[in-house]
């Protein structure tokens, strides 16, 4: 091959490379721009509202004045209840599907299809289900408990999927080694496999928190609209996303505090995410040592 041909060939390769780089970069830039735009809009409009009083007072005048303390507390309780139910159930289901059943068994297939169907159901349907089942049939009424349990149902498929992905990423050599070391099935689960699957479980946890914090429709019917400080899990309480929605849509003159609340929502989300990643890494390292 002559020197020129080599150069030509190389040139066309470079062109393709450049094209691929360009596509990858523009995709990246678009995503970052959208993120920065949303974040910037909320930051710029929201930060002037944020003050110590905003975080520690009750809302007044339909949310136009005052703060969001009871709403923060309600949101925290709802998310906690949601994860307290969804996380153990989700991880247990994932362990069952990945460690105890054959992947091709009819039962496992049935469960897998059910999970996919559940994941595709719009949240408003979960809201109606929760309203009928938790509020009425079980008699919880409008309460943080109903809201948390409804969200738990909604989040469950995502927790299961993420945990299964985590478990699948654990090499079979780990399972074989622990069997070879005469570890019992449960010991190998709790000391080797689940800790190794931690990244997936953390991802499920994050997805769960993300969806729970962002949920409006399902909560309007279950945990309700009351913006008083809740005194227990049987009280109705307004979640942060409902507060943002109500201020933006139903309360004229509520835009400033809507931005402020959205700002708090995003900060909470970012803090929780980074905490979960940090803790997840810690657990994984300690257990595997």
């Amino acid at each position: 091959m002559s020197e020129q041909a080599v150069r030509l060939e190389r040139g066309s390769h470079y062109d393709l490379d450049n094209l691929a780089t360009f596509i990858a970069w523009s995709g990246f830039i678009v995503v970052v721009l959208i993120f920065v735009w949303i974040l910037g809009e909320i930051l710029v409009n929201g930060i002037s509202v944020i003050s110590w009083e905003f975080l520690t007072e009750s809302p007044g005048n339909a949310g136009r004045s005052g703060g969001i303390l009871p709403i923060l507390v309600s949101t925290g309780v709802i998310v906690f209840i949601c994860l307290a139910f969804a996380l153990p159930m989700g991880v247990a289901t994932a362990v069952y599907l990945n460690e105890y059943t054959l992947k091709d068994s009819r039962f496992a297939k049935f469960i897998n299809i059910s999970i996919d169907v559940l994941a595709a159901i719009p949240s408003i349907i979960y809201g109606l289900f929760g309203f009928v089942f938790f509020n009425n049939v079980l008699g919880f009424g409008f309460s943080l408990l109903s809201g948390g349990l409804t969200l738990a149902c909604m989040v469950l498929p995502f927790v299961i999927r993420a945990s299964i992905d985590g478990l699948k990423a654990v090499p079979d050599a780990y399972r074989e080694s622990s069997t070879a070391l005469a570890m019992s099935k449960s010991a190998s689960l709790f000391y080797v496999i689940i800790p190794s699957a931690m990244p997936g479980i953390i991802a499920g946890f994050l997805l769960g928190i993300g969806r729970a914090l962002a949920e409006t429709a399902a909560l309007l019917f279950t945990s309700g609209y009351v913006d008083r400080m809740p005194s227990g899990v049987m009280d109705s309480g307004r979640a942060l996303s409902i507060h943002v929605y109500d201020l933006a849509m139903n309360v004229s003159g509520g835009d400033a505090n809507a931005y402020g609340s959205a700002f708090v929502l995003i900060v909470v989300l970012l803090v929780v995410n980074s905490m979960a990643i940090y803790i997840g890494n810690k657990i994984q390292r300690r257990q595997l040592r």
């Binding site: 309007l220 609209y225 049987m234 109705s236």
Partner: protein, 277 residues
């Protein structure tokens, strides 16, 4: 085995919390539940807060879900009181409706605009983009019309669309506004614009000359707090609360509180029109 104990403990906690939760839920003597219209809910929440302050021990939970749900919940006993931002339908005549305030929309033009009045049909055509220049309207200048519309989801937009039988996607606005103040500002600085805001927010500003605006009459009815309160002004709706039967006890006391002069300041703060009695 360790795991078994953990599972048993979790189960016991669950049962315990359910039982204690249920017994807690039965204690509902001084408790009212209101559900319904998301337009009325912020107003009733504030009224309820003031009532709770006056009567310690009473708890009033305000929930939303739309006017029809409010009426249904009142009918089947899910709620003590329903809320509806509309007049009763024929099938709902057997229920008791109480109007606590009214919500009205004013069509606003810049003060310098020579157009004195517009018919419903003309306003519909302006918003549907069929009339785009003021010169096509009686007394109008040769200037393009700037259409100011509310953002989707606002209750004012809902009332506006319903009255003019327009659909949200038929409107081709030049400016989209969020709240009333923004609408007033936008029309104040654009001499050739047309917009609409809730009457409560525009009326005083115009009357005191703060904003260079004028409120268009509807038909032959002037747009004022008074005509809205008396139900004469067509582009308005009642904000109702609903009970299944003649109210008694706490429900009755709360309703008469919500209809009294003690809450007029709250009603005005929400840009609604109190009804003088």
């Amino acid at each position: 085995m360790k795991l078994g104990i953990v599972i048993k403990m979790l189960f016991a906690t669950l049962v315990f919390s359910l039982v204690s939760g249920l017994s807690q839920a039965e204690d509902k003597k001084d408790r009212l539940v209101l559900t319904g219209s998301s337009t009325v809910a912020p107003l009733l929440s504030e009224i309820a807060k003031r009532y709770e302050k006056k009567h310690p021990g009473v708890r009033i939970d305000v929930q939303t879900g739309g006017s029809t749900r409010g009426v249904n919940d009142a009918r089947n006993g899910m709620a003590d009181i329903g809320m509806a931002s509309r007049a009763p339908k024929d099938s709902e005549r057997s229920l008791k409706f109480f109007t606590i305030a009214r919500d009205g929309i004013a069509i606003i033009l810049h003060k310098s605009n020579p157009v004195k009045s517009l018919s419903d049909d003309q306003i519909r055509k302006i918003y549907a983009g069929e009339i785009t220049n003021w010169k096509d309207l009686p007394g109008g200048l040769d200037e393009k019309i700037i259409v100011v519309n509310k953002a989707d989801g606002r209750s004012t937009l809902e009332l506006f669309l319903k009255y003019y039988k327009l659909k949200s996607d038929q409107i081709k606005p030049h400016v989209v506004i969020g709240d009333n103040q923004q609408g007033i500002k936008t029309v104040s600085v654009n001499p050739h614009s047309i917009g609409y805001v809730s009457i409560g927010s525009a009326y005083y500003q115009v009357k005191q000359g703060i904003a260079p605006l004028k409120l268009l009459p509807m038909g032959n009815v002037v747009a004022s707090m008074d005509t809205v309160a008396r139900g004469k002004y067509p582009l308005s709706r009642p904000l109702n609360i609903v009970t299944k039967t003649q109210p008694q006890g706490l429900v009755k006391d709360f309703i008469s509180f919500a209809m009294s002069g003690e809450v007029h300041d709250i009603i005005e703060e929400q840009y609604f029109v109190p009804i003088n009695r």
